[in-house]
Subunit: 154 residues, 3 copies
């Protein structure tokens, strides 16, 4: 099943893709690699989430936020490529969590992103990844995720 | 206008490029990609800046530091390539800010780097980027920026 | 001398390669690039190291941990490629250190990784790198290192 079909089957609606706030792009392509800018979770009830994992937010909240940020990454990919079926592979993901000094459940949080990528892209969604705890992020968002994709030759 | 012409027009002088301090290189090339090591701001008045954004330094200081680190990244690129006109595209930038737990203005700081890249490289300078708050950096420097460039085929 | 020969000469035994804990892979290949997931130090005396550089651990401990994580990265590369002699170049390394707010010796710690890569791969082991202090990491490990390698064409 193609990624676009899978997306419909899952009943997922992609956001419009958050805009870059300054002199940079949502994505930059080099050869068959597409580098996507770091993305925060989408707004909930019209407000950007703000707070730290391990303090304002639980690991389960983090999982939901990571899934949300992944939706934004995917939305950017579709905008750039026209169709998600042009994605050959999700190559690399880096999760950056706004977390307390004592937070330890980084993998469980980033799974929210990884699980969605595999749901949508299947084998092509399995990526190398890394995750870390930052002590601060832009606007106090609870996480930012960046990704590198391989795209099918034109 | 070429990047080298633009640099002259802006009256910018590139530093000599800071040397790697250990068993690594300022840059490593793979195919058409050039990966540049993380660079701190250049010394000011002969001293390396030291301190945190949100405590010793303001967001305006951070903007200046990000511009300074970008100059060092560009200096490395020129040393590696011979001429900046061999840069096809700035592909990806990651800014790592030494910041307090409550700092939120990461994008405004990293703009110091992004703005300079676009001033010099124009459309080719527009990159994907991510930025995060680290609680410590080498020698206490206020930020480190790394970059990946695409270079024109030989 | 080939990397595999060098490994034998150094008397180093590669670990079996730690398994990914979730919906992701130890490594993902795109063209000639191999992206390896973030790796922590191997267990010591059957236990995963846990603690911060600058508090539970010294810089010398960190050097040892970075060398240990590098062994795991190399083990993953060999599992993926069959032989380390297929590595054309270590392109990029990022070290993420679980450190106190006042830690400053990040380069000395990451040297444990860089030195081992150069011991084993010689000129091919010299990479671009960046290093930062995270305020928390998964399971409280003292560091995580990720790497990107170029591999020889098939």
């Amino acid at each position: 099943m193609s990624a676009e079909q899978k997306l419909r089957e899952l009943g997922l609606t992609l956001p419009s893709g958050s805009a870059p706030a300054a002199n940079y792009a949502n994505a930059a392509r080099s050869g068959n690699l597409l580098f996507i800018a770091g993305k925060a979770p989408l707004p909930e009830n019209g407000k950007m989430p703000k707070g730290k994992l391990g303090r304002e937010y639980t690991t389960a909240d983090g999982y939901r936020f990571a899934r949300s940020a992944a939706l934004d990454l995917i939305a950017v990919a579709r905008t750039e490529l026209g169709s998600l079926d042009r994605v050959a592979r999700i190559v690399e993901v880096q999760g950056i969590l706004n977390a307390t000094d004592y937070f330890e459940e980084h993998p469980q949080v980033l799974n929210g992103c990884s699980d969605l990528l595999v749901e949508i892209f299947g084998e092509r969604g399995i990526h190398a990844r890394s995750v870390l705890g930052a002590n601060s992020l832009r606007g106090g968002v609870p996480l930012v995720i960046k990704a590198t994709l391989e795209i099918l030759p034109d």
